[in-house]
């Protein structure tokens, strides 16, 4: 196990986090949810940037308080609200990173900067959003990290840049000792990358499911009022009122396809599921 959060709680008064998450070796785990759902708070708890009120966090099999700088060398981090050293140049980072990480590969870092058109001589503060995002990921990938913690690494990027970033992550995952915890509010980005998903809303994990299960067994029923009244609701996990009737999220799509052939059932995607879970009424 690379990372384990067990009942991690943080109370901000107006917002409460209460979550449990696991990231295994060889797996990419997605954390999805709307803005303000608690994704960044979760990431900050993992990185010790905030102090949870209770619960346990383990990284590389160690309690978070026992994590040493040597352990952190095995960690690569991208946080959407944290920029690198903006007032320096990408080439200035070489000596800093070399002093920080024993496994830092200068050749690889420079090669990747060239490959993704990152100017080495320009101040980072003058980079475009896309360049900054790519540089952050290049840094996270430059030192043979075992675990990547990526909070919205694709935020603010166009579709081409998002694909480039996702390709970098696929290449990284060719080594199955590694794992990734990644969040995005564009969950379609993650469908082709993640092995499992945690859906978070109001600081609470509302669904944890493997991607295959989520995409093959979950579905959305479009029901009229009459259909809603008569249908067997045991596999409906959330319901959202609509003008025409109801949208119902099920985790047993096949059951309804077999038993209610007259009902309109959509495959849906993770974004659709989040909308029903967040805006609708959960079972």
């Amino acid at each position: 196990m690379l990372l384990k959060l067990e009942n991690v709680k943080k109370d901000y008064g107006t917002f409460k986090l209460d979550c449990s998450i696991e990231v295994k070796r060889g797996q990419v785990t997605g954390l999805v949810g709307s803005n303000g759902a608690g994704k960044s708070t979760t990431f900050k708890s993992i990185l010790g940037l905030i102090f949870p009120d209770s619960g346990d966090i383990e990284m590389f099999g160690k309690k978070l308080n026992d994590i040493t700088p040597e352990d952190k060398e095995k960690l690569g981090v991208v946080l959407t609200e944290a920029n690198t050293f903006d007032y320096l140049r990408a080439k200035d980072l070489v000596s800093i990173l070399k002093a920080m990480y024993k496994s830092f590969s200068e050749t690889d870092y420079i090669a990747k900067c060239h490959q993704y058109k990152i100017p080495l001589d320009k101040n980072i503060k003058d980079f475009s959003t896309g360049m900054k995002a790519k540089l952050k990921l290049i840094i996270a990938l430059s030192h043979d990290a075992e675990l990547l913690i990526l909070d919205e690494p694709t935020a603010g990027l166009d579709v081409i840049m998002r694909n480039e970033l996702l390709d970098m992550l696929r290449e990284y995952m060719e080594d199955d000792r590694r794992g990734i915890l990644i969040s995005s509010h564009i969950s379609t980005d993650l469908e082709g990358l993640c092995d499992d998903f945690y859906m978070i809303s109001n600081g609470e994990i509302i669904i944890h499911e493997e991607t295959d299960v989520l995409l093959s067994e979950y579905g959305i029923l479009k029901l009229t009022d009459d259909q809603y009244d008569t249908i067997d609701k045991q596999y409906i996990i959330a319901t959202k009122r609509e003008k025409f009737g109801y949208l119902c999220l099920t985790n047993q799509k096949d059951f309804y396809q077999e038993n209610y052939p007259q009902v309109a059932i959509e495959k849906g995607n993770i974004d659709d599921f989040i909308i029903i879970m967040v805006q609708g009424e959960r079972k």
Binding site: K44, L47, G48, L49, I50, F51, P69, E70, K72, E73, L75, V77, L79, E81, A82, N83, T84, F85, D86, Y87, L88, D92, S95, I96, L97, K98, A99, M100, Y101, K125, I149
Partner: protein, 226 residues
């Protein structure tokens, strides 16, 4: 910690123009007043304050979140900041003395080594005290909010020093000046020895001030949430 030191050094080197401006101004004042004492003070203060700018730079655009996700700890960050500040003070001190000597040679000014050393050492302790107050406050409140706190703290320190002096001399009738003169009269007659003792005393005061400041900064950093 080595990586953090390199980072701070690179930030300071980015501001080398400021250093050149300090030397030019120092040279200008030395030339017009035929005295290098002001240049010594000016160069020390400007160079030493650069250490404080590294905290401001660290804080820009969530930079602290990035720093704390690197292989370091909050404790190492604070230790590095004070180590860098101390090294910077030392370098500023040496640079100031060397530059003043060179300016003296260049402009044909009769430079009193003891005066330059005393002036530099005094300025170093003064700026060290400012840094000792500013570092924990900037860590606690950030660059913007710390300004008011720094203003209030400096005012409080001034009130404590002046008030304390008045209290001791006027209420308790302790002759502080006499005590100081008494201590000075007991110093060895050799000028070099006197300079060394005075510089050593300044250094001791500086180390004590920075050590107290470190304790505050450490406590602030260990509790701060980002």
């Amino acid at each position: 910690m080595k990586g953090l030191l390199i980072k701070d050094l690179k930030i300071i080197l980015n501001q080398k123009k400021l250093f050149l401006v300090a030397v030019l101004f120092g040279a200008f004042f030395a030339y017009t007043n035929k005295d290098v004492t002001f240049a010594a003070t000016y160069i020390v203060i400007l160079m030493s304050m650069l250490a404080l700018t590294t905290i401001s730079y660290d804080d820009i655009n969530g930079g602290m979140l990035f720093i704390l996700s690197l292989p370091t700890t909050r404790k190492l960050y604070v230790i590095e900041k004070y180590l860098f500040t101390a090294l910077n003070l030392l370098c500023s001190c040496v640079a100031s003395i060397v530059i003043c000597m060179l300016l003296g040679q260049l402009f044909g000014i009769d430079v009193n080594t003891s005066t330059v050393i005393a002036s530099t050492a005094g300025s170093t302790v003064g700026v060290g005290l400012m840094l000792a107050v500013n570092i924990p406050l900037e860590l606690k409140f950030g660059v913007e909010k710390s300004r008011t706190a720094i203003f209030l703290s400096v005012a409080a320190i001034a009130v404590i020093i002046v008030g304390g002096y008045k209290l001791l001399t006027e209420v308790f009738h302790i002759d502080l000046k006499g005590m100081a003169m008494d201590v000075l009269s007991k110093l060895p007659s050799s000028q070099v020895a006197q300079d060394a003792i005075i510089a050593g005393a300044f250094l001791l005061v500086l180390v004590i001030i920075l050590a107290i400041s470190y304790v505050f900064s450490y406590k602030i950093m260990m509790k701060k949430e980002y």
